[in-house]
């Protein structure tokens, strides 16, 4: 009974259920919330990258109009350790005088207005003892961490295979630091009521914020409530409990009033982490006809002095293509930089750029069509374990994409496709995205009128969770989408996981699936206790749902509405809790595959000026079962724009002596504008995935991956220039 049987509702491009709220301004984002008596906070950041604060003079700030409180390390509350939640969180701020990076919070000022707080923050005088900063990943003094997650992987004998390989590619690929930059400025509004605390907070995981804040302030978890019904984007930025959050909480406690702390755009660059730069060393061995015999992929990424980060760039090389010999190793290096953090497709985005560039180089080396070489080396089974995939439509992505794009019109000769001053190039890249899922729970309730609501603590970061979960619950309960109300983004609801790692749809969807199944079971059991019910004695397996009714399969007349069952039993509502935990690959005997994809781009390169324009993009993806074609398409489109940004524009530049981020504004940090984005054709292929009951694979991140190498590969086709570092700017393309 719990199979998905509502194609009319599931998969359809249902409009966002939260759309009307958002376009009419009724959706309250954390920075929209105001409370009576609220005060405002402004942070002060360090202006050196390494050292110690020797003196702070706050007198002028304290006397400044409207100022209620100035907190520095000298009068800050002593806070408890921040627990790790999947990954480490920053330890509490203002606990000592040490400076670890430029932009670290060193004080917070609270005042009656934002303007007064900001003005006073500028009056604090700071003196430092400067220590030499380590800012260059190649600095021999920097601490290097080998095999940071114990995930270095090897099979076969790569050394020998490379030595014997008739063809070898041995290259280094680098990517720059990128900054997530969700448009919504991250805000924490903290308000205490005795020993309980409520936070309106921008994040991607309310239960994580709850847990970390509770630990730091020595509170039971239940004493902290985190509300995040809406957040103005995340792209990974909201996956940790950043230091401004405890600052707001501490400030609210000091002044005994609710305190709102909204970060500024420049503060968003230092306060929420950023995508690490990466260096990837890749060696490919292959036969003369282009069959891979060895892949060696090593990466180096960066870490702040006191944090950790999971960016296994090399791991893509362990599952993307079939190779009998593989080693994948990662290293990290600690620097005096702001935190590195997840950003849409962490690790994969960088590693895929390296691998897909190298595969392309191999294609040229052996004289194969870049599309053919990817098909030739397609991994029919998980190359590491030999197990079947839970689903894998990479081949189909490549084939369909090539057809839609018109790949066969490509003249393979470099520089042969010209249009005036422009050299035209076609580029392709394949994408095999990681798989990720965490435990999650939800509650589903049917009310007396037969409508339902679903509750979970998870938040919808704009991807469409509200909508697809309403569709899913409607499909499973036999209701219309508008009969299902969604209640998300409240840590007091059933414990939910992160809106991250492209893992929420499978996690929450499986929990909703579980809850709906249990709820129908309860209805069937209830009906079974009523001898007059048309469903009396009908076993659970034989019951179907549709139009708000339970009925016997094959005999729709023999049934009863949910509302009637509740009424008969004198109930106002009936609920069930649902949980999901990821299945075990061992038990299922298969390897869970993340989403798969193919990118085809046409680039146009000005032959004199080196200016690159993307003229066309075809992006085909296998996301398993697509719950909502329209929202899925939006995810891929947004990812594609991010991919163009990563390829051509985005570059968080750090001044080499001071460690200051030099371009921490939207005037200086370039992201694509409309004019940079061409026609993008989005298409989905593939079958429901076998690893979770609803058959989905997350697609929140994959859209970004593969765009950069496809562009770089297209530039090579157009110009014969192989650019191995991102972003690709005209000075590198120009001869």
């Amino acid at each position: 009974m719990t199979t998905i049987q509502q194609p009319r509702i599931l998969g359809a491009g249902v409009d966002r259920v939260d759309g009307p709220l958002k376009v009419t301004g009724q959706a309250r984002y954390p920075n929209d919330v105001n409370l009576p008596g609220m005060a405002y906070a402004a942070v002060v950041r360090s202006t050196i990258p390494s050292g110690r604060i020797t003196r702070m003079d706050t007198t002028a700030a304290e006397k400044s109009p409207g100022v209620l409180e100035v907190i520095t390390h000298e009068n800050a509350d002593h806070l408890g350790e921040a627990p790790a939640t999947f990954i480490k969180n920053p330890q509490p701020p203002l606990q000592d005088d040490a400076i670890r990076f430029y932009g670290q919070y060193i004080a917070v000022v609270v005042a009656d207005t934002q303007q007064n707080a900001t003005a006073a923050a500028g009056l604090i005088e700071v003196e430092y003892e400067r220590h030499e900063a380590i800012l260059d990943p190649h600095d021999p003094r920097a601490e290097r961490i080998k095999d940071p997650w114990g995930e270095d992987t090897a099979w076969g004998d790569v050394r020998t295979a490379l030595n014997r390989a008739p063809v070898m590619i041995d290259q280094t690929y680098t990517t720059s630091e990128n900054t997530n930059n969700p448009l919504g400025l991250f805000t924490t509004l903290a308000s205490w009521d005795g020993d309980t605390l409520t936070l309106h907070d921008s994040n991607q995981w309310p239960n994580m914020i709850q847990q970390v804040v509770a630990a730091m302030f020595g509170l039971p978890r239940d004493a902290v409530r985190v509300l995040t019904p809406f957040v103005g984007g995340g792209f990974g930025a909201g996956l940790r409990c950043w230091s401004h959050i405890p600052l707001a909480v501490m400030a609210a406690r000091h002044v005994g009033r609710p305190v709102k702390l909204e970060l500024t755009r420049p503060e968003m660059f230092t306060g929420l982490g950023h995508r690490t730069s990466s260096i990837n060393w890749i060696r490919l061995g292959a036969t003369r006809d282009g069959r891979l015999t060895a892949i060696e992929h090593e990466s180096l990424t960066t870490l702040p002095l006191d944090g950790d980060e999971y960016e296994p760039c090399s791991s893509v090389s362990t599952w993307s293509y079939a190779s009998p010999n593989v080693t994948a190793r990662d290293q990290q290096v600690r620097l005096n930089i702001p935190w590195t953090n997840f950003m849409r497709a962490p690790g994969d985005a960088q590693g895929n750029f390296a691998l897909e560039s190298a595969i392309d180089e191999l294609a040229w080396e052996v004289g194969l069509d870049p599309l053919e070489i990817r098909l030739l080396n397609y991994a029919e089974v998980d190359p590491k374990t030999g197990r079947p995939w839970s689903s894998n439509a990479l081949r189909r992505c490549l084939e369909v994409g090539a057809q839609r794009f018109g790949w066969s019109n490509r003249n393979p000769e470099i520089g042969s496709m010209r249009d005036g001053h422009e050299l035209v190039g076609y580029g392709v890249a394949g994408v095999s995205f990681f798989w990720y899922q965490q435990p999650c729970s939800a509650k589903v309730i049917v009310r007396g009128d037969g409508s339902a609501y679903v509750r979970s603590a998870v938040t919808d970061i704009g991807t469409g969770t509200y909508t697809i979960m309403a569709q899913l619950a409607a499909g499973l309960l036999g209701l219309e989408v508008d009969q299902v109300e969604m209640q998300l983004g409240d840590s007091s609801m059933p414990v939910g996981t992160a809106a991250g790692g492209s893992g929420l749809t499978a996690a929450l969807g499986s929990a909703v699936h579980d809850a709906c199944g249990r709820l129908i079971q309860k209805f069937v059991d209830l009906a079974g206790t009523d001898p007059f019910s048309p469903l009396a004695n009908v076993p659970f397996e034989d019951v179907a749902v549709s139009e708000g009714r339970l009925f016997r399969k094959g005999d729709p007349t023999r049934g009863e509405s949910l509302a009637r069952i509740l009424a008969v039993h004198g109930l106002t509502e009936l609920s069930a809790d649902g949980n999901s935990t990821p299945n075990s690959p061992d038990q299922l005997g298969m390897t869970p595959a993340g989403a798969r994809g193919a990118r085809f781009v046409e680039v146009r390169v000005d032959e004199d000026l080196g200016r690159v324009r993307v003229a066309r993009i075809v992006t085909v993806n296998d996301g398993g079962r697509i719950l909502n074609e329209k929202l899925a398409r939006s995810q891929i489109l947004g990812g594609t724009v991010g991919g163009v940004g990563m390829a051509l524009f985005e570059d968080t530049v750090t001044d080499k002596d001071t460690g200051r981020i030099a371009n921490a504004t939207f005037g200086d940090y370039l992201i694509p504008v409309n004019a940079d984005i061409p026609d993008v054709h989005v298409e989905f292929v593939g079958e429901p995935d076998a690893f979770n009951p609803i058959g989905v694979k997350g697609i929140g991140e994959i859209g970004l991956v593969g765009v950069a190498p496809a562009i770089a590969n297209g530039i090579f086709h157009a110009t014969g220039k192989r650019i191995r570092s991102l972003p690709i700017t005209m000075d590198e393309v120009m001869d």
Binding site: T118, D608, D655, T665, V673, M730, M734
Partner: protein, 326 residues
């Protein structure tokens, strides 16, 4: 909070008086530079004199000249019919600048006086910036300087003058009307801007309290062809890495007369007098264009980040010349 007063006088004389008698007063036009820099903590005026209601708005034809009121917005000037017909490259320069929202606010006077985009100038947390704090040094010279100048630059300052409009206007020998309590003076735009030298804080000949009231744009003869070519990383909404403003009068395959200016490369909008010499009475050939480019980009002052601009600027000029003469 840094408090400031705000006044909105009704007459030019009052506006000038208000600023002239208060060393910490600034004029406020569209505010797209002034307010930005106040928010960034770079400007701290204690009086803002809003000039947007002064009768200095509109475009007037005066024989072979357009007189543009200083408070005409960029969008208004860009939609002027005469300018579109006679000097379309000025319109192109306007429309390739900023975004439509900004151009609806930004005025022509303000555009000529916009401040550099140098990141180190715009962040008061950076100690060294001779333009912001005379004598403090120049952070950009040793740092990331992709958007900086290669012509007219010195170790004291390599900040770019980023206006697109000014590039087209220096090519046309536009003239600025400057009003002070003493009266009016006229300064050709080619003599309006000052190279940084040892005093990067002084960017132009304007004295405190002087108001730009209008800009005269001489209209090139009918039949003049012109182009504004702007090269940048993004396709829109970005300042130039290199730009070329060119007007030419052709006589068959020969260039009779040429006006050349470049943006994205100079500490001031860069007039290419040498290029004009080369082009005058010369055949429109690649060789001619190359020597015009070599003549313009002479003795550049480069730092690692700007080295690529030498060749980029030359090729931009060559491309623009090729397109406008063919």
């Amino acid at each position: 909070m840094h408090e400031f007063r705000y006044e909105r006088p009704a007459t030019v004389a009052e506006a000038i008086r208000a600023v002239a008698h208060d060393p910490e007063a600034d004029f406020l036009a569209g505010g797209t530079t002034e307010v930005d820099l106040m928010k960034d903590g770079v400007f701290h005026p204690d009086l803002l004199v809003d000039i947007t209601r002064l009768p200095l708005r509109g475009v007037r034809r005066d024989g072979t000249m357009l007189q543009v009121g200083a408070l005409t917005t960029m969008e208004e000037l860009a939609s002027d019919r005469t300018l579109m017909e006679r000097a379309p490259f000025v319109v192109e320069a306007l429309l390739r600048g900023a975004s439509v929202q900004l151009r609806n606010m930004a005025t022509i006077g303000g555009n000529l006086l916009q401040r550099t985009r140098c990141r180190y100038f715009r962040d008061p947390a950076v100690p060294a910036c001779n333009k912001r704090e005379p004598g403090s040094g120049c952070e950009a010279v040793n740092s990331v300087a992709r958007m900086h100048a290669i012509l007219g630059a010195s170790p004291a300052c390599i900040a770019l003058h980023a206006s697109d409009l000014a590039v087209a206007l220096v090519a046309l020998d536009a003239v600025v009307h400057i009003q002070s309590e003493e009266g009016e003076r006229l300064v050709p735009l080619t003599q309006f801007y000052l190279m940084p030298g040892e005093t990067p804080d002084r960017e132009n000949v304007l004295r405190h309290g002087e108001l730009i009231t209008a800009v005269d744009i001489p209209l090139p003869p009918e039949g003049t062809r012109s182009i504004y070519l702007k090269i940048r990383d993004r396709a829109s909404y970005e300042f130039a890495l290199a730009s070329a403003a060119i007007a030419v009068i052709m006589d068959g395959p020969v260039i009779k007369e040429a006006r050349v200016a470049m943006g994205g490369v100079g500490t001031i909008p860069w007039r290419g007098f040498e290029a004009e010499e080369v082009l005058r009475e010369a055949p429109a050939t690649p060789d001619t264009f190359r020597s015009a480019a070599d003549g313009t980009i002479r003795d550049p002052f480069i730092v690692p980040g700007t080295a690529f601009k030498v060749e980029l600027a030359k090729r931009t000029l060559i491309r623009a010349l090729t397109e406008v003469t063919s």
